[in-house]
Amino acid sequence: MKTNLIVILLSSLFCLPAAAETIQVTTRENAIRSDCRFFAPVKLKVALGDPLTVKGRKGDWYLVSAKGVSGCIHKSAVESRSFSSAGRKASAGGASADEVSLAGKGFNPQVEAGYRTSGKSLNYAAVDEIVKYSVGEKSLETFVLQGGLVQP
C-alpha cells in the first residue's frame, strides 16, 4: 500500500505537464528563422523584450514560438549572461522578464542624453552613423561563399 502510494506520487511528479518556459529577446532586434542556422529565411522579426515560448533546444539555438510563428532563434539573442570579476562568462540562461526589465535601468538613453551635455568633446553623430550602417544578409552570404569561407 505504502509502496503503491510512493509510486503514484513519483509518477504524478514526472507526468505533470511541464509549464511552457517563456524567455525574452535581449537584443534590440533579432529574428525567428525557419531553420536553426544563420542565413536561414526569417519567419518573424522580434525586438527587445518580446516574449518567446520555448519548445526545445538544438545546439546553440532555441526552438521557439511567438505570435503563432514557430522557428529558431540563436541563444545569444535571448540569454542573459553574468560575468566573473575576471571578465569571463560565468553563467548563461534564458533571460526572464525581470532581468530584461531591470537591465538598462542604469546606463540608458536618459543618462546618455545627460552625458551629451557634459561639455566633453563627443561625436555622437558619427556613432549614430556607425550603428545605422548594416550589410545585407544576402551580401554577407555571397561574401562568405566567394571567399571560400565557412557558412555559419
Partner: protein, 292 residues
C-alpha cells in the same frame, strides 16, 4: 568585473537572510508566513541589486566611448572599404560564441595614419586607415578584427571600469524595475557614467589592456578565424608586421602589455585547428582589389 566577486559573495541570499534575521533580533519562533514572505522579497531585491552590468547598459557605454574616440579621429567615409570591413567583421562574429550583441557588431574606419584599432564595449569596432594600410591581405585584416571581437566578447572594456562606480550606480538604480529617476538620481548616474567612460577610454586609448586580456583576445581570435575559415596564421603575420613597424614606438596600439614579441610567442604556442588555406590567394586578390 562588475560587480566584483567579493560583492557577489557578500550578497548571497542565504547570508543576507541570516544577516537580516540577526540584525532584526528575530527569533525563528517569530517567523510567520507573512514575515518570511517580506524577508524573502527583501533578499531578492538586494540580490538583484548586485547584478552585473546589463548588455544594453554596456551598449550605451560603448556608444559613449566611440563618441569620444570619433571626436579625436574622424570617420574615414569610404563606402567600399566600410562595407568590406563590415563583411569581414560580421563573418567572424557569426562564428563566435556571441554572434549577436544587444546593438549588434558595427565596424568603421577612422581617418588616421596611426596603426590602431579600438573595441568599444557592446560591439562597435573602429579601425584606423593606418591599420588597413599596414595589413597584407584579407586574412590579416580578419585577424585584427577577430582580436578586437575577442575583447568585446570578454568584456575587457567594461572590466576597466572601477567597480566602485558600478556599485554606486546600483545603489541609485535600486531594484524596482518600475522606478522613474528624479533629477538628482539622473545627475548622479550621469556623473558615474562619465567616470566609467573615462575609465574605458583611458584603457583603450592611453594605457592598453593587460597582459592576460591581450593573450586571451589573441587565443579567441585564433579560434574565431579557424571557425570562420580564415587562416589563423593571419594573426602571426599581422603581429610580425606590428613588431617590425612598432619598434621604438610608444603610442597607440604599441602601448599594450604584453609587448608584441611576447604576444607572438604566445600565439605560436597556442594550438590551432588546421584549416583549408587554398582560398587564401583568392581572398588576398579580393583585398588588393578593395584597397587599391
Amino acid at each position: 568585473m562588475i560587480p566584483n566577486r567579493s560583492l557577489q559573495n557578500v550578497c548571497h541570499p542565504g547570508l543576507i537572510l541570516l544577516a537580516m534575521l540577526a540584525l532584526s533580533g528575530c527569533k525563528v519562533s517569530d517567523l510567520t508566513p507573512e514575515r518570511i514572505s517580506a524577508i524573502t522579497s527583501s533578499v531578492q531585491s538586494i540580490g538583484k541589486a548586485a547584478r552585473p552590468m546589463g548588455e544594453d547598459e554596456e551598449y550605451y557605454v560603448g556608444r559613449a566611448v566611440a563618441a569620444r574616440i570619433t571626436s579625436t579621429y574622424p570617420l574615414y567615409r569610404n563606402a567600399r572599404l566600410t562595407e568590406y570591413v563590415n563583411l569581414i567583421g560580421q563573418t567572424i562574429a557569426l562564428h563566435t560564441d556571441k554572434p549577436t550583441t544587444f546593438g549588434g557588431y558595427h565596424f568603421a574606419l577612422l581617418d588616421s595614419p596611426e596603426v590602431n584599432a579600438f573595441a568599444c564595449p557592446g560591439g562597435i569596432i573602429l579601425v584606423t586607415r593606418g591599420m588597413l594600410d599596414s595589413v597584407k591581405g584579407e586574412d590579416e585584416l580578419a585577424a585584427v578584427l577577430a582580436h578586437e571581437i575577442g575583447h568585446i566578447i570578454h568584456r575587457d572594456g567594461i572590466a576597466a571600469i572601477q567597480s566602485s562606480r558600478w556599485s554606486e550606480a546600483l545603489l541609485v538604480i535600486g531594484s524596482n524595475a518600475a522606478r522613474e529617476f528624479g533629477p538628482k538620481d539622473t545627475a548622479k548616474l550621469v556623473s558615474l557614467f562619465e567616470g566609467s567612460i573615462d575609465d574605458v577610454f583611458k584603457t583603450l586609448v592611453v594605457n592598453g589592456y593587460g597582459r592576460e586580456q591581450e593573450k586571451a583576445a589573441d587565443a579567441a581570435a585564433l579560434a574565431y578565424l579557424a571557425a570562420a575559415g580564415y587562416d589563423p596564421q593571419g594573426l602571426t603575420g599581422y603581429l610580425n608586421r606590428l613588431e617590425q613597424g612598432g619598434k621604438g614606438s610608444k603610442s597607440g596600439i604599441f602601448t599594450t602589455h604584453p609587448g608584441t614579441e611576447e604576444r607572438l610567442e604566445h600565439v605560436r604556442q597556442t594550438a590551432v585547428t588546421s584549416v583549408d588555406t587554398s582560398a587564401v590567394p583568392k581572398r588576398s586578390r579580393r583585398f588588393a582589389d578593395m584597397t587599391r
